[in-house]
């Protein structure tokens, strides 16, 4: 799987003979090695979930947030190098604020995704900057309804029904494809995302993890917020039950 660049991988401003920019591909590897991040678009909103791998038992629960609010109506879930992710979030917040300052209304999700991806792409154009080692799933709810975008370290951005990043992305995508997203409400979506994340978590390789869930839906007044604790607990319980059922087979 690992390809040797043989000299064409030293700088992000160098193409290889077969037209690849190795540095950006290496950046994507950083994303592929991180905890799984999942986002789905339900009929009444978006649900974002992160498998937050806990590196130390000393860490306080709820710290090291991986899902951040960008404006009242949008949230960003980060996969990959967390510090790089914070930079992207900070930039997204500032883009959203400046858009509102100039145009007098909250930034549309499409415009926000555009700006974030331009910024990420920017860092792949200069030799003195390294690409971001993180991919981002942006979920928002504006006048055009709920929307989900995924932005990769290359700056590529697409709109999705369901997206996943990180270690368990292949398995997660398979699970998402099984869901009937157009009929799913966010309440049901939360449980499904929890099941997916619990399902793709590799007990052998990574010990502990914390589930971080957030949503933007009609129920949350189209505002991005952490899923309320009672619903979070219900989702965890359902996910663990589903896992046991699978293991029992």
């Amino acid at each position: 799987m690992s390809s040797i660049g043989t000299g064409y991988d030293l700088s992000v401003t160098t193409f290889s003979p077969d037209g690849r920019v190795f540095q950006v591909e290496y950046a994507t590897k950083a994303v592929d090695n991180s905890g799984t991040v999942v986002g789905i678009k339900c009929k009444d909103g978006i649900v974002l979930g992160v498998e937050k791998l806990v590196t130390s038992k000393m860490m306080l629960e709820g710290s090291n947030r991986r899902i951040h609010s960008v404006h009242r109506h949008s949230g960003l879930a980060v996969a990959g190098l967390a510090a790089d992710g914070r930079q992207i979030v900070s930039r997204a917040k500032s883009e959203a604020a400046s858009y509102e300052k100039v145009y007098g209304e909250p930034i549309s999700v499409k415009e926000l995704a555009d700006r974030v991806s331009s910024y990420v792409h920017l860092c792949t154009l200069y030799w003195w900057l390294r690409p971001f080692g993180c991919g981002v799933i942006l979920g928002g709810y504006d006048r055009d309804g709920p929307q989900l975008y995924m932005i990769e370290p290359s700056g590529l951005s697409h709109k999705y029904f369901g997206a996943a990043l990180g270690k368990g992305r292949q398995a997660a995508k398979t699970e998402i494809e099984k869901l009937k997203l157009s009929e799913l409400t966010c309440r049901e979506g939360i449980v499904e995302v929890a099941k997916i994340i619990y399902g793709v978590h590799d007990e052998a390789k990574d010990k502990a993890f914390e589930l971080e869930l957030s949503w933007i839906c009609d129920e949350s007044n189209r505002q991005h917020q952490k899923v309320p604790n009672d619903l979070l607990e219900q989702a965890k319980v359902a996910a663990q039950a589903a896992l046991e059922e699978m293991d029992a087979d």
């Binding site: 947030r65 951040h68 609010s69 960008v70 404006h71 009242r72 300052k101 917020q225 952490k226």
Partner: protein, 206 residues
């Protein structure tokens, strides 16, 4: 908190349905006198402030004391640059603190003077309303009693301040949240004997 809904342009009463009291965050109300465009700018600063605060998502939210302090800094720094925001701001709110529910009322002037008091007024209210409030305000007033007291002050101001209009709004802030009531008018009485034939005792050449 109460205000009338008029905004003048010099001596012209240009806008008669202006909301001069707004909610800020979850715990406060801000009311302003003076230059309305500067108030709109202040509201935009506060919007950015409360948005940043909201996005932290750390279980904390800015209370009236914090917002009062922020506004003081803004007003004082602008005055130091000889470019003031020409407003008198009234900041009130309630927030649950370590000692329970803490009520707060304060004001900031255009030069950055700020203080906390049980009764605040701006402009002519300082001369006409404050004496009434000092005499009749009590710690344990109910909402209805407070409205009556405030209406008494508003009426005096309506009679005596020529830039006031007979259309008022009352705003309330409690731990449940802010409520800004729809505008209404007070009943005035102009049949006082002193108002009849006002030029009677006046010596004039015209």
């Amino acid at each position: 908190m109460a205000s009338d809904t008029g905004a003048s342009y010099g001596s012209t009463l240009r806008y008669k349905s202006v909301e001069r009291i707004k909610a800020v965050g979850k715990h406060s109300l801000i009311g302003a006198s003076g230059e309305f465009s500067d108030f709109q700018e202040i509201l935009r600063y506060l919007d950015e402030l409360t948005l940043s605060d909201h996005m932290w998502d750390d279980g904390n939210s800015l209370g009236p004391k914090e917002i009062h302090s922020y506004l003081t800094r803004v007003m004082y720094n602008r005055r130091n640059k000889f470019d003031p925001l020409w407003n008198s701001l009234v900041l009130g709110g309630v927030k649950k603190g370590p000692k329970g529910e803490e009520k707060y009322l304060g004001m900031v002037s255009m030069i950055g003077t700020h203080f906390e008091e049980n009764h605040i007024a701006t402009g002519f209210g300082n001369h006409l309303a404050i004496p009434i409030l000092r005499a009749e305000w009590r710690e344990d007033m109910t909402f209805e009693e407070a409205v009556k007291l405030v209406e008494k002050c508003l009426l005096v101001l309506l009679y005596r301040d020529r830039s006031s209009i007979n259309k008022f709004q009352i705003a309330k802030i409690t731990t449940e949240g802010a409520t800004i009531y729809p505008p209404y008018s007070l009943k005035t009485y102009w049949g006082f004997s002193h108002f009849e034939n006002p030029a009677q005792g006046a010596v004039g050449s015209w």
